[in-house]
């Protein structure tokens, strides 16, 4: 370990690691892309279901709402690291391995589903009941109400929810990375912590800071453009 690490040397070390940093960024991107896609495709409809089965809503159903709500709370109760370990058999079944970003995407997706479902439910609650009722009075079908009214009116809030989810899961993906998923967080731990290359740790944290700022900025910007309220 270098007692007096010069800036020049630190930069040189980092530039030597450039291919690995790139590789780690791709892995993080892959984990996020899979996790977020599953969250949207599965968690989105689940959130809509949670909303529509509430008392006073289109498909008010105490039993369905209770069961789905209970399941969502259950999964969300698990600390992520424990969820990951307990899903190892499922991961092995689905991916055939528990190592690598694709394998890490399994518990990430699993955790992202109920998280996004709750965010979607909360966002939809902001739509005035009267607007939905007006659509009912005009003869809109449930599918038309979901697509045209709920998603159309909540679109800015849904983008904000997705922004929150993305940033939360960027840090979850670092945890997943450490137990074999790879990615930026894993690189930071391997070089910065285990090999005492503090400059790698610092650079990776800075990289994450920049990514988070970009995601938040893009999310805010898009949400503001979509919001005509």
């Amino acid at each position: 370990m270098d007692e007096q690490l010069t800036l020049a040397q630190a930069l040189a070390n980092l530039s030597d690691l450039a291919p690995e940093i790139w590789q780690a960024s791709v892995e993080t991107g892959l984990m996020l892309a899979i996790g977020l896609s599953v969250a949207i495709v599965v968690g989105g409809p689940l959130g809509i279901l949670l909303y529509l089965t509430q008392p006073g809503q289109l498909f008010a159903n105490r039993a369905v709402n209770g069961v789905v709500g209970w399941f969502v709370n259950l999964v969300r109760s698990f600390p992520f690291i424990i969820l990951m370990v307990s899903l190892v058999p499922l991961t092995r079944l689905l991916v055939g391995s528990t190592i690598g970003p694709i394998a890490a995407a399994v518990p990430l997706s699993f955790a992202a589903i109920p998280y996004f479902a709750r965010l979607v439910e909360q966002t939809l609650r902001e739509i005035p009941r009267g607007v939905i009722e007006a659509a009912e009075a005009m003869g809109a079908s449930p599918a038309q109400i979901i697509w045209k009214v709920l998603l159309g009116e909540a679109r800015a809030g849904l983008i904000s929810s997705l922004t929150i989810l993305t940033i939360s899961f960027l840090s979850y993906s670092a945890v997943a990375g450490v137990v074999g998923g790879g990615g930026i967080g894993d690189l930071a731990i391997r070089y910065g912590y285990y090999r005492f290359q503090t400059e790698v740790m610092v650079a990776m944290v800075l990289l994450l800071v920049v990514i988070v700022q970009i995601i938040q900025f893009a999310g805010n910007h898009l949400a503001a453009r979509l919001d005509k309220r």
């Binding site: 005009m138 003869g139 809109a140 009116e153 800015a156």
Partner: protein, 245 residues
């Protein structure tokens, strides 16, 4: 045109027990009429209006609009029947993320109109309510009176035979109120649309209604006839509402 026969609607009170909002009421509204439902808060007038398009389903009794018994229809048939019954709301209930034109287009999209037909009909309706220059605006950029005009244009777009108006002027100032009432009257006169309007103001009844039902505690207590903007009233309740106005 609209025949409500022995309709009854009760709600469960949050604190327990039941509340009869509409009690065994029979009412006939003629085609082409502007018919008022008037009464104090809690008289059951909004519930009665919402029974006409089955936003509230009666516990018993029948609802017949345009020769069809709505209570017997399947969900899909009811949706199609509702496309023939426009509705205007006190709080406008416009979609905030849709432009004025897109709000008016909404019921036509639902009914499966072609894009060209929608565009043409939306332009017509904008003209009728005098908002042709606001087509691309969003509801948040409009005044209350303009929002209600969009609400009326939206209700009118699918060429319904009936328009139900639930306290359409209660959120508006007196001057705007008059212009909205004139707009409804104009639509009734030009297109022969039957209008049912809920209000707690005798002024609204005198101003545009042909007849009105006075409601109290879920029952029709008097049918009011309007002649030359004068309401002939017999019951004490009607007289008290006339005094307020």
């Amino acid at each position: 045109m609209i025949h409500l026969k022995n309709v009854h609607k009760r709600f469960r009170r949050p604190e327990g027990g039941w509340f009869d909002a509409v009690r065994d009421t029979t009412l006939h509204i003629k085609a082409g009429e502007i018919f008022g439902l008037i009464g104090f808060s809690g008289a059951g007038k909004s519930t009665l209006l919402r029974l006409i398009n089955l936003l509230e389903r009666p516990d018993h009794g029948s609802v017949n609009v345009d020769g069809r018994d709505l209570t017997g229809l399947s969900a899909a048939e009811l949706r199609r029947a509702r496309q023939n019954i426009g509705m205007v709301f006190q709080q406008f209930n416009l979609m905030a993320n849709r432009t004025v034109a897109a709000n008016i287009a909404f019921p036509l999209e639902i009914a499966g109109w072609s894009r060209a037909d929608i565009d043409q009909r939306v332009a017509e309706c904008l003209d009728i309510v005098g908002l042709a220059d606001r087509a691309g605006h969003y509801p948040s950029q409009l005044s209350g009176g303009q929002k209600q005009r969009v609400g009326i244009a939206r209700a009118l777009a699918p060429r319904p035979h009936v328009i139900l108006a639930d306290e359409p002027t209660s959120a508006l100032d007196p001057k705007t109120t008059q212009s909205i009432l004139d707009c409804l009257q104009d639509i009734n006169a030009r297109f022969g649309v039957t209008v049912v309007i809920v209000t707690h103001e005798m002024h609204v009844i005198r101003s545009i209604c042909h007849r009105a039902a006075l409601l109290d505690a879920g029952e029709v207590v008097e049918l009011l006839q309007v002649t030359d903007k004068q309401v002939a009233a017999r019951s004490a309740l009607a007289k008290s509402l006339l005094e307020v106005a």
